[in-house]
Every structure is written in structure tokens, then in C-alpha cells.
């Protein structure tokens, strides 16, 4: 299909980019383009202008410092999945990024685009939530930071203002005794997550659980944290039995259904995949 006409800008700095956005209310940011271009081709979106941030150096690169991992917004899934730094400091993110779409998509799609698009069925939001990521944002009025838990507002809606750009994702590096896992049940046609479960657990030397988080993609309008189920695991030995009982009563609020999977079935998937993710995370801790 064929996108409608638009103007094209290719700024070389974040400053320039946010200024163009501020001046053109109908403009949209273009990163990897792997959500935006498809919807433009189907003419479900017809922005008047695109601001291509793909060549801004400041949005590239992965670095580790002071116990945190920083990933530029325009870093691709392929880079994330294969980065030794990410594999060491936030293996959950590498694992989730490696399961996105297909190899072609992973060369183009970016972490910033994925989180900003906030598609409930995409894979990185739950990982970002489970890892307690901080999202750094720049706008024409200045910069700010938003926690992942405040970032995802509603279906394809984030805390970003129209003239703001997500610039960097910061993740606290995993400490000793931490294990994580991302488990995905893919939609057979689109390959997106019908349900994706991101789990992080920490164990002390004796094996008992000192911290846990469990988040889901695909089940409701935004990525969600199953905080109650996760916190009920703290203090447990993370045995299969403990995991099953933590998840037995779990219910994701406002689960959504569609022609491929009902809301009820998505809840079941969340329980099944959640258990699997927790068990794997435990074994890796």
C-alpha cells in the first residue's frame, strides 16, 4: 500500500528534532518505522510530517555506568539482543528484544519506538516495567525522567507530550542472585505477543526470594504489573508449588479479548506463562 503525502525532516540533534515537533503539531517522530510506516501504508495514520530521528548520534549507543545500563532510544532490537552489556546487566531485555517480530524487524525496530508506540501486544513494555526502567525524555521545554510504571498510560498512549522525544532508557543493572526470563506466546499471524510474561526474581544465599516482579504484555490495554502475585512470592523458596499458589488467584484487571483470544483465555495464558517465566527466572537466579 501507499502512504499519504508528508513532509520529511531529518534533524541531526535532539534539540532540532523537538523544535520541529513543537513547530509542527501534525508531525510525528520516525524511528525504526516498523510500526509507523505500516499504519501509514494502510492509511490508518497520515501525519503531515515525519521527523526522522534515526541519524541523531545522541540517541544511539549502549553504555554501563554507576550500576545502571543506558540505552539510546534509537538502538535496535538486534543490537540489544546481541549486546554483551545488555546480556550482563539486563538479560531480560535482551531476551525480550530477541523475540520481537522477525530478524528483519529486529534490525530496524528501536527500543524508543517500541516503548513510545505502547502497543499492548509488543514485547518491551513488560520488560521495561519488570526491570524498573527509567525513561529519559526531551521536549522543547527541557528534559525530564519518567518511570516505566508511569509511562504507559493507556492503549497506545504514553506520558510523552506531542513535542517530546524519548531519548534514553535507563535500567538498574541486575545484582547478584537475580534471575529473569521473558516468555512469549505469539499470535500466529502477526507474531506479536498474545501474552508475554516478564519475570525477575532475586534470591538470597539460602535460596529464599528477596524480590520479585512479574509483568505482562498483551493481556490488557497496557503492559501491566502483577504486583500482588509477585510480592506474595517474597520470602518463599520459589518452589513450583510456591509459584503456582502465588499465581492461582492472579487476575489481570481489564483483560481484553479479540477474535483470536478471549479475555478469559488471556488470563489463563498469563498464569501459564507467568509460572513458566518465574520458574525459569528462579533457575537462572
Amino acid at each position: 500500500m501507499y502512504p499519504s503525502k508528508f513532509d520529511y525532516h531529518r534533524p541531526s540533534s535532539v534539540q532540532e528534532a523537538v523544535q520541529i515537533l513543537a513547530d509542527n503539531p501534525d508531525a510525528k517522530v520516525l524511528a525504526g518505522g516498523h510500526s509507523l510506516i505500516p499504519v501509514m501504508k494502510l492509511r490508518l495514520a497520515a501525519p503531515a510530517a515525519l521527523v526522522d530521528i534515526g541519524r541523531i548520534d545522541a540517541l544511539q549507543g549502549i553504555s554501563r555506568s554507576n550500576g545502571s545500563l543506558r540505552i539510546g532510544a534509537c538502538v535496535t532490537y538486534n543490537e540489544i539482543a546481541n549486546s554483551a552489556d545488555v546480556q550482563a546487566a539486563a538479560p531480560l531485555l535482551a531476551e525480550a528484544a530477541g523475540q520481537i517480530g522477525d530478524r528483519q524487524v529486529r534490525y530496524r525496530g528501536t527500543i524508543g519506538g517500541n516503548l513510545s508506540h505502547a502497543d499492548p501486544a509488543s514485547d518491551l513494555p513488560a520488560a521495561a516495567l519488570a526491570l524498573g526502567a527509567t525513561l529519559h525524555v526531551a521536549g522543547s521545554g527541557g528534559s525530564r525522567s519518567v518511570s516505566a510504571s508511569d509511562f504507559f498510560v493507556d492503549l497506545m498512549m504514553t506520558a510523552l507530550q506531542a513535542d517530546e522525544i524519548l531519548t534514553e532508557v535507563e535500567i538498574p543493572a541486575a545484582g547478584a542472585g537475580t534471575g529473569s526470563a521473558y516468555v512469549k506466546f505469539e499470535h500466529p499471524a502477526s507474531g506479536y505477543a498474545l501474552c508475554g510474561a516478564a519475570a525477575v526474581v532475586t534470591r538470597d544465599a539460602g535460596g529464599s526470594c528477596t524480590g520479585a516482579s512479574l509483568c505482562f504484555n498483551g493481556v490488557s490495554a497496557t503492559a501491566v504489573s502483577a504486583a500482588d502475585a509477585a510480592s506474595s512470592l517474597v520470602g518463599s523458596d520459589l518452589s513450583d508449588g510456591a509459584i503456582d499458589s502465588a499465581l492461582s488467584g492472579m487476575s489481570i484487571p481489564d483483560a481484553t479479548g479479540d477474535m483470536f483470544a478471549s479475555a478469559g483465555y488471556r488470563q489463563e495464558l498469563a498464569r501459564a506463562l507467568g509460572a513458566q517465566a518465574l520458574r525459569t527466572a528462579r533457575d537462572r537466579a
Binding site: Y2, F185, S190, F260, Y265, E268, A272
Partner: protein
């Protein structure tokens, strides 16, 4: 890999395809790859409503857009005086045949029905203009479910078809069948939905039309499986141009699976538009458009029952089906759920009483027509599901109950109760081979052990038969076909002994250029590399009927074999003359004619060809040149058969079905190229597995297509499938010169039942006896809980 240049022995060897070098290097040209000078682009505005009255169309903004050449509606086509029709090519008694015009005149009847067309200088503009055409619709209720559509009060698709019934058809003996049920010891009974499918040939449909107003000739490059059928229908029903002034060319065609048999409006629209604007016009469907226009497949709602005696012998089969036709009757649509369905209800079984009743039903949906297998997968699914259910209710093992009821090898030709006469077969042979290869007995032990661990394995058999190689013309004619089903071939030996073969079939991935050359190399004893095969151009070959219904080897190949035989006969006469010998004394071996016992005094086929062209010294009454044309009308259908076995594991927590093994033992008669035959089986299986586990076209209650893009409709991906295990038995077809049956559809026909039978077997501890396709994880999970 066999040597590609050897002569007579190439029939039966796995030589690599000669089609491939162009395809793997990107040099092959498909319709959308073609450019003609002055070419413009056409797009079609399609109805967003399943059912609506059109109050008016305002195209002024679109017309004013820079680069737009014209916008047309049905009124313009009417005003041009062309017939404008999209006809149905198979007539059943008392069938309702509503008008189908190239664009909707005043009512749209499915989402996707064409409403207006744009012609523009480039394709971007042609799409932009669609957004600027405003149609004033008056929406009405629509109906998509074929059974609900027949209920009183359902919205009518066509006023002239009460209860939306297009036809009411039956086959078999109702009284005899009812009597069998009255005497039954056991009855298996199932309600079955055969899910609607979207063909998804990877190349979307396209047409490039070039009308020359001075000569009055139309050249139409298009994605077709049968150029001559398209030429005929465009001439007779759509444009009214004389047939000899239309040349339909199939360039490279990227798969069809039935979807490129049918005559649609769009290709005719491109041609008509070229006549209006006086320039070549290209139309290429977007994928979403193919979902809204390519004829869909299947879509049956069925109740079936199988009666048995106390020993588990089948004594009667009763089937009632509501088969969707969609909004209009597509080219061969009426044949699919009738003569390609009801006639297959005997399966591989000796069934003394059968009755099958079918309603063909209009719904506010994309028209339904032949899709790989066409009727036969639906029939096989009904029969093979019922046989498994019969095994369950009678407590007999599924393999054993099949064995007990097979038509026995010495009963051929076997006359079924539903019109067909099976030519040859050995059903138990294929079953035994398959059971052995899969390790059936061991599997049952493994299954029991797994169940103890809470793992659910299942095995499913499908012992299928199909009728293909369409078909004896008089027979199909008596059943309603408005087409013959013979096939044509020309074998032309040039003066230098090189050979060009023309076929009326039209391959689109099947490797005809390779296999047809193999046939001719063996028949004429000329080197394979000296033979070219040409297909797919109504301007250069005699009329033919194209490629579908697994007919290209059985009819097209047989036509070539007969033409080659005629060539040899003529060459023999000339050779005898040159050798001053009697024809009866000549041997023909490896391309050489010689008198028995003196092979060193030979006339080779090229020698003879040269003399035939020089014509200086020909026997009396023999015309110059060396070529022959054959129009081969088959004596019967051909009946491939076999046993397919699927092994699955279902996940106890998510319900996901893992297809662990898939094994096929097919009998397709003699095999021209085993590598190509295996490839056809692989692809067929993948499509059948797709139907059983993933694919489904979903309409909502208002007849809106919910699975309208590739994001929603799951074409199987590589990681959904295992490697396939394939094997064969060979029971040659007794009535064609090559002994070949057909292989294009076998995999698709057999596999849905094998997979679903395996899932039901896996779920038997949960008391499950049927599950509808596609067997999604959610359905399985629900069945387990």
C-alpha cells in the same frame, strides 16, 4: 541429483528444475514486474459495507486530483455498451443465477464489492484518489453464516433467491441410506464446520492490459492459471471483444491454489479501462485487496452420520451441508460443494448406501470457489472425522476400522454409490506402509506412558482418496460444466531435431517446463536439453483449459504423450521410407529408427526431422514437417490415494498444539519427477495443516471481514511446521498413457483430517470427540477444562 542432459531415461528421475535459474536470480518477470510505455495505473474503490444501497457517488474531488486521468463507475461501463458480466461457468438444475456486473450498480453485497475505479498516472496517485471518492451508502443488514442465511427473515443477498438458497442438490439414494441407519448397530454422528479460507498465493493478483484501438486487439498479461478460460469469459461475458482479438498471457505466476482460475471483475476492469484511456493500464491488488476479492475456500456447515453393523462395517453414510457461495456465483463455485464433494463421500470405503444433500447459500461475503482441493478436502474431512468417531463409538482401533472397510484391491474398477468409478488402488498397502513407518504400535505405548506424566500425545490417520485430473468432457458437461476438460498439446520437432512443446495447461510453480520436457525426452529419445516447453499464452498455443484440479500431468502430460506418439508414428513412416524398409520392421530406441537387428544402419529423429522439413524425398501422402497436435480427453478421473498420519502433543497449560511428526504415504501413480512430486506433497500438507491449526477467515455478525489482513490471518510460518516424512506406493493409472494420477492437491485434501484426528485422540482423556478447525490453543484449552 540426476544428470539433466541424458536422453530417454529422464522420465522418473529427480532432475533439477529448469525454471529455477531465472527465479533464484530475480530475472523472472511476473505481471506486476512488467512495464509498457505510456502505462497508467488503475485502482478499485471497494465497498466498506457488507450490504448497502448506493444512493450516489461523488468523484469530483478525485477527478480534480493532479495525475488522475479518469474515475469510472458502473454507469460508465454500461454506457460503453460492453456486456459487463462476470459469469458463472457451472450450471446446476434450478440454480438461481443473479446478475454479477463488473462494478456494483446500485447495491453492494460484500465488503470488497467494487464500486468505482480510478485511472491515474502513477500508483500512489491512483491510491490517493480512492480517498477522495465519496459514496453515499444506505447500509442494510448482512449475513455471513451459511446456515443462518437460510433461516426465515435473514437478510437477502439477492431478492430472487428466497432464503438465500442458490441451489438445492443431492446425490445418492436417500431411502436406501435411511434403511441402513434403521438397521445400524452403531451410529457415529458429528456437526462439523469447515472453516473459510483465504488462498494467499504469495503473488497478489494483477493485470496489465494493452488495448490497441487501431487493430482492435487486446493483450492482457495477467495472473492466471488458465489463459484460455479467461480469454473466453472476457470475450463472451465481460467485454464482448471477438475472442481472436484477445490475447491472454500468463507471465511468471506466483502461485494460485485455485484463486487464479476464476474470472474476476478486476482484470476485466483493467482491460476495459485500457479501452477507454487508450493506454496500457496496470492493476495490482494489494494484499488486503486480495483478501477482499480472491475467491475464498471451504465455508461449510455440515451434519454427518455414519452407520455401522455390529462388526464395525460401514453400512450407510448421511451428510447434510450448507455451503457458502458468497455474494455471487464465482466461475466454478457451484461444482465445488456438489460434484467435487458429494461424489467423494465413499472415501476409500466400500459403502453400500450414501446420501448427501447440499444447499448452496448466498451470503454477504467474498464469493467462494475452488481452493486447493476444492470440495475434496471438505469431503475427506467429513468422512475421515466420521470414521474416527465410528472407531470411538464402536471401540475399534482407528486403523483397524479403516482396514475392515476399505475397498479391497481386487475390487477395481470400483463403482461407488455416488457416481464415481475408482480406477485402481491398494488402500491397505499405503496404510500398512504408513503405520509401519510411524511405529503405530510403539506410539500407543508411548502415548499411554506420557498420559501418566500428564502429557497428551495424539495420533491421527487420514486414509484419503481424491478424484482429480479433471476430466472427461462429456461427463463434466452432463454435470453442468460450461467448459470442456480435455487438454491440448503440440509437439514440434524442428528441422535440426530440437523440440518445442506447447501445452494448454498453465503452470505457476509446478515445474511443468521440467516435467513436460522429461515426458518428451523419454518419448522421443531426444536429449532433455533439446526440448523447450511453452505454456500460458493464448496467442501461441491451441485452446487449453489450464492448470487446476491436479490435472496437468494426467491431462496435459497425457496430451503431450499422445502428440509425441503421433510424431513418432509419422517419423517412423518417413524413416521406413528412408531406410527402404517396412514400417513394421522398424525399431525405435533412444531416438533412432533401425531395422530389427541392424542398429548401425539407423535414422535418428533429427535425421528424419531434417528430411521431413526438406521434403525432397517423402513417402507418398505424407505432409512435410514434423509436428503433431493432440487434444486429449481423459477416459475417467484419476484417483490418487494414500494414508497420512499426524502426531501431536497438546500443552496441558496453554492448549497449544505442537505438530511433532507428519508422515504421508501417497499413491499418485507413476512419478515423472520424484523431487517435484515430494515438493507438491510438502506444500499441500502445509496448507492443510494451516487450515487445521491456524487459518480462518472470520466474519462478524454484520458480515464484516475481521481477518482482513495478514496480521490477522495466519499463513503458516516455517517454525509452525516439522520436516515432513514422505513415501509412496505406486499403482499406475490404467487409463492414461503415462499411468500418472495427480499430486497437486493430495496433501491439502488429506492433512486436515489427520491433524484434527490427532488432536481429538490427544484429548480423548477429556472426553472430547470433535473440535472445529482451526484448532486454536484457546479451543483446546477450553476442551480440556
Amino acid at each position: 541429483m540426476a544428470d539433466e542432459s541424458n536422453g530417454a531415461g529422464v522420465f522418473g528421475s529427480s532432475i533439477r528444475r529448469r525454471e529455477d535459474p531465472e527465479l533464484i536470480t530475480g530475472q523472472a518477470k511476473y505481471t506486476d514486474d512488467l512495464q509498457l510505455s505510456g502505462m497508467v495505473y488503475c485502482t478499485v474503490l471497494r465497498s466498506d459495507y457488507a450490504h448497502a444501497k448506493i444512493n450516489g457517488i461523488d468523484a469530483s474531488e478525485a477527478e480534480a486530483l493532479d495525475g488522475v486521468i479518469a474515475v469510472y463507475t458502473a454507469k460508465d461501463i454500461e454506457a460503453s455498451g460492453v456486456p459487463g458480466g462476470i459469469p458463472v461457468g457451472w450450471l446446476l438444475p434450478d440454480m438461481k443465477i443473479p446478475e454479477h456486473y463488473m462494478l456494483a450498480k446500485d447495491t453492494t453485497r460484500y465488503v470488497g464489492d467494487g464500486v468505482a475505479i480510478v485511472v491515474a498516472e502513477d500508483q500512489y496517485t491512483a491510491h490517493d484518489a480512492l480517498d477522495l471518492i465519496y459514496v453515499d451508502y444506505d447500509p442494510r443488514d448482512g449475513v455471513a453464516d451459511p446456515k443462518k442465511a437460510t433461516e426465515d427473515g435473514a437478510p437477502l443477498v439477492h431478492d430472487e433467491a428466497p432464503n438465500n438458497i442458490a441451489f438445492d442438490w443431492e446425490i445418492g439414494d436417500k431411502e436406501q441410506t435411511d434403511a441402513a441407519f434403521a438397521n445400524a448397530a452403531h451410529v457415529a454422528s458429528l456437526d462439523i464446520v469447515n472453516n473459510r479460507l483465504i488462498p494467499n498465493a504469495m503473488e497478489p493478483r494483477a493485470a496489465l492490459a494493452d488495448y490497441n484501438s487501431i487493430t482492435g486487439e487486446l493483450t492482457l498479461y495477467m495472473t492466471t492459471q488458465n489463459p484460455h478460460i479467461h480469454r473466453l469469459l472476457i470475450s463472451l461475458a465481460s467485454l464482448g471483444l471477438p475472442e481472436h482479438k484477445i490475447r491472454v498471457i500468463a507471465p511468471e505466476v506466483g502461485g494460485g491454489f485455485g484463486s487464479k482460475i476464476h474470472h474476476y471483475a478486476d482484470e476485466a476492469i483493467a482491460a476495459w479501462a485500457s479501452m477507454q484511456v487508450g493506454r496500457p493500464v496496470k492493476w495490482t491488488a494489494t494484499r488486503t485487496e486480495t483478501y477482499l476479492t480472491d475467491a475464498h475456500g471451504r465455508d461449510h456447515v455440515t451434519h454427518g452420520e455414519l452407520a455401522m453393523d455390529a462388526d464395525g462395517r460401514f453400512i450407510g453414510l448421511r451428510v447434510d451441508t450448507y455451503a457458502a457461495m458468497g455474494a455471487y456465483l464465482s466461475t466454478f463455485a457451484p461444482a465445488v460443494p456438489t460434484y467435487l464433494y458429494g461424489t467423494l463421500m465413499s472415501g476409500e470405503y466400500d459403502l453400500p448406501a450414501i446420501h448427501c444433500h447440499v444447499y448452496g447459500v448466498f451470503t454477504h461475503t467474498v464469493p467462494v470457489d475452488a481452493y486447493r482441493g476444492a470440495g475434496r478436502p471438505e469431503a475427506t474431512f467429513v468422512v475421515e472425522r466420521l470414521v474416527d468417531e465410528a472407531a470411538r463409538v464402536s471401540g475399534i482401533d482407528p486403523a483397524e476400522i479403516r482396514r475392515r472397510n476399505f475397498v479391497s484391491p481386487d475390487a477395481f474398477p470400483y463403482q461407488t454409490q455416488v457416481a464415481l468409478e475408482y480406477d485402481s488402488g491398494n488402500y491397505e498397502g499405503a496404510l500398512d506402509k504408513a503405520l509401519e513407518a510411524i511405529g503405530y504400535d510403539d506410539f500407543r505405548k508411548e502415548q499411554a506412558a506420557a498420559r501418566d506424566e500428564g502429557r497428551y500425545l495424539g495420533i491421527g490417520l487420514s486414509t484419503y482418496i481424491e478424484a482429480c485430473g479433471l476430466a472427461p468432457s462429456a461427463v463434466v458437461g452432463s454435470l453442468g460444466a460450461q467448459a470442456g476438460q480435455w487438454e491440448s498439446a503440440v509437439v514440434r520437432v524442428h528441422a535440426t531435431g530440437k523440440v518445442t512443446v506447447y501445452s494448454g495447461c498453465s503452470g505457476h510453480g509446478q515445474g511443468h517446463e521440467t516435467t513436460y520436457a522429461q515426458i518428451v525426452a523419454s518419448a522421443l529419445g531426444v536429449p532433455y536439453d533439446d526440448i523447450d516447453v511453452i505454456e500460458g499464452d493464448s496467442g501461441v498455443m491451441p485452446h487449453g483449459w489450464g492448470t487446476y484440479g491436479s490435472r496437468s500431468a494426467a491431462t496435459g502430460g497425457s496430451a503431450i504423450a499422445s502428440a509425441a506418439e503421433k510424431v513418432v508414428d509419422k517419423a517412423r513412416t518417413i524413416a521406413a521410407h528412408l531406410l527402404e524398409a517396412a514400417e513394421e520392421d522398424l525399431e525405435f530406441e533412444d531416438g533412432n529408427f533401425f531395422v530389427k537387428g541392424s542398429p548401425d544402419q539407423a535414422q535418428s529423429l533429427p535425421d528424419v526431422a531434417l528430411q521431413a522439413y526438406l521434403a525432397h524425398n517423402l513417402p507418398k501422402g505424407i505432409e512435410p514437417a514434423l509436428e503433431a497436435t493432440s487434444f486429449y480427453d481423459p477416459a475417467n478421473f484419476v484417483f490418487p490415494f494414500g494414508t497420512h498420519i499426524a502426531v501431536v502433543e497438546v500443552c496441558a497449560t496453554t492448549g497449544q498444539v505442537d505438530l511433532k511428526r507428519y508422515l504421508a504415504v501417497d499413491d499418485v501413480g507413476n512419478v515423472i519427477n520424484p523431487m517435484i512430486v515430494d515438493g507438491q506433497v510438502h506444500g499441500g500438507i502445509a496448507q492443510g495443516v494451516g487450515q487445521s491449526l491456524y487459518e480462518t477467515a472470520v466474519y462478524d455478525d454484520g458480515a464484516n471481514l475481521l481477518s482482513g489482513t495478514m496480521l490477522d490471518y495466519a499463513v503458516p510460518k516455517a517454525h509452525f511446521l516439522p520436516s515432513f516424512e514422505t513415501d509412496r506406493t505406486v499403482t499406475p493409472c490404467p487409463h492414461n498413457p503415462l499411468g500418472v494420477k495427480g499430486v497437486g492437491e493430495a496433501g491439502t485434501i488429506a492433512s486436515p483430517a489427520a491433524v484434527v484426528n490427532a488432536v481429538v485422540d490427544a484429548l480423548s482423556p477429556f472426553g472430547v470427540n470433535h473440535i472445529d478447525m482451526p484448532v486454536t490453543s484457546e479451543k483446546v484449552w477450553n476442551a480440556m477444562n
